[in-house]
């Protein structure tokens, strides 16, 4: 049986039969890996805490007829802080669901792996109840994820006619600009008359949104973006992401449901 090694992040695990688990991992070289960890539910299993969610592991995997089998796993890094706060867990689950639903098996995912690692590391570092910081990390993740996948919105020219927005519009000196999720960016004064579902992005949000795709995580976290603006940005990026990636992320709905009943 052929074996291969993979540095991976544990994204999901399911129970399989009496005591086995199916583990879904994101690795740099092989993208998403679904593999069986035999006996992983037993207390004396050699895997025990090694295959817990969000652990960074180095594992050896044997290729099987149907599913691959994890034969060894060693922990590289553990994010213990994630389970210490339910909001942190929720944000990590959104990130994990996005990765699982967009990445494929067998295709290298080096950039997504690095992004996921940075996002989980920052979530882990956050103080408990630092909900705004956690939302900023999610905003950062969504923006960078869209950039890696090639879906960066168009800000400097109109998404319909291609005319230079800065030459005729008010960005970012005066009020803001109109943004279309469907057309994937800013819409000029002329084209906006024929487009439905436009969002007005005010000057403050516009400046943050434009810089977001090239900003570093430290700058996003330390920025003094208000909670209202963070929520606005999150809302725009979430809708943009769902429209263009054409997938449903259940954990986003969960976040809203939980916030409504004031779980945190």
């Amino acid at each position: 049986m052929a074996t291969y090694k993979a540095k991976s992040i544990v994204l999901k695990s399911y129970r399989l039969g009496e005591s086995d688990k199916i583990i879904r991992l994101l690795s740099m070289e092989h993208g998403i890996i679904s593999a069986v960890a035999k006996g992983a539910c037993n207390f004396k299993s050699r895997f025990s805490g090694r295959l817990e969610l969000f652990n960074i592991i180095d594992c050896e995997i044997s290729t099987g007829r149907n599913l691959d089998v994890i034969s060894q796993a060693e922990i590289i890094e553990v994010f213990r802080g994630i389970s210490s706060d339910f909001f942190k867990f929720n944000i990590s689950q959104i990130i994990s669901e996005i990765t699982l639903k967009t990445q494929s098996e067998g295709a290298p995912s080096t950039n997504i792996f690095r992004l996921l690692y940075v996002a989980l590391r920052e979530i882990n570092k956050c103080c408990p109840d630092a909900n705004i910081t956690l939302k900023k990390i999610l905003v950062f993740f969504l923006a960078k994820f869209l950039k890696i996948m090639g879906y960066v919105p168009l800000f400097d020219s109109c998404s319909i006619c291609g005319r230079n927005i800065f030459a005729q519009e008010t960005v970012p000196d005066q009020k803001g600009f109109m943004f279309s999720i469907k057309y994937g960016g800013a819409i000029c004064h002329e084209c906006r008359k024929n487009v439905e579902g436009l969002l007005f992005i005010d000057k403050t949000c516009a400046e943050i949104l434009i810089s977001l795709f090239s900003a570093k995580i430290e700058n996003i976290i330390s920025s003094n973006v208000t909670e209202k603006n963070t929520d606005n940005l999150l809302n725009i990026l979430e809708n943009y992401f769902i429209h263009h990636m054409d997938i449903r992320i259940d954990s986003f709905d969960y976040l809203k449901k939980i916030e409504k009943i004031q779980l945190y």
């Binding site: 999901k12 039969g17 009496e18 207390f43 004396k44 050699r46 025990s48 805490g49 090694r50 817990e52 969610l53 969000f54 652990n55 922990i75 553990v78 213990r80 994630i82 389970s83 210490s84 706060d85 339910f86 867990f89 929720n90 689950q93 959104i94 994990s96 669901e97 259940d250 954990s251 709905d253 969960y254 976040l255 449901k257 939980i258 009943i261 779980l263």
Partner: protein, 199 residues
């Protein structure tokens, strides 16, 4: 040939629906049952139907029971000051099997999970809070699996229960009895050290 015998094929398909049973195992079970006496088969079928018709959830703790209240809730000798919160009814059997615990239980029916869309209302958390108020409970033991999902649920429960003034404890986690330190992972060792106790 079995493909032509509809009753056998039906039963094989029914067994295949069970967790961990594939087509070969299902066929093996069916051929084993064919060799059994009519009396044994009818007892087996009666046991299945009987279980489905009689077993329901306890109205207090959501443990499995044949009556409105489960055997634990009906047992007057048990301490009502302490409630052990478990994820599923089968966990009650395991803890009862240890014979160390003499309090009440509360079965949540799952763990909080954003991916599975399971929130507090989908679990028996509101019922737990009402029960704690009603019984004036002194201590709650959170006995969920020591996984990320389990720990997150425990963190949430701790947050809402602490505000009601009840003492909240969690099962110890660390090295298993008979285990070997040499083969333990960093997480388990870390927990064993942070949860160490004076002898």
């Amino acid at each position: 040939m079995t493909a032509q015998i509809k009753s056998i094929e039906n039963l094989i398909n029914e067994f295949r629906k069970l967790p961990g049973i594939g087509p070969k195992s299902a066929r093996r079970i069916v051929f084993y049952l064919l060799k059994q006496s009519e009396k044994d088969i009818s007892e087996f079928a009666d046991a299945l139907v009987d279980m489905k018709l009689k077993v329901k959830f306890c109205k207090n703790c959501y443990n499995l029971s044949e009556e409105d209240e489960c055997l634990v809730c009906k047992d007057g000798s048990r301490s009502i000051d302490i409630i052990c919160i478990v994820e599923k009814a089968s966990d009650v059997l395991v803890i009862e099997g240890a014979g160390e615990y003499k309090g009440l239980y509360h079965v949540l029916g799952g763990l909080l999970s954003p991916i599975e869309n399971i929130g507090p209302d989908e679990l028996k958390i509101p019922q737990l809070l009402a029960r704690i108020n009603k019984l004036n409970t002194a201590e709650v033991i959170i006995a969920v699996n020591p996984t990320v999902e389990g720990d997150s649920t425990a963190t949430y429960l701790n947050k809402i229960l602490k505000s009601s003034g009840v003492k909240v404890t969690k099962l110890a986690s660390g090295l298993p009895v008979g285990g070997d330190i040499e083969y333990a992972d960093q997480v388990t060792i870390g927990r064993a050290i942070s949860g160490r106790r004076e002898m």
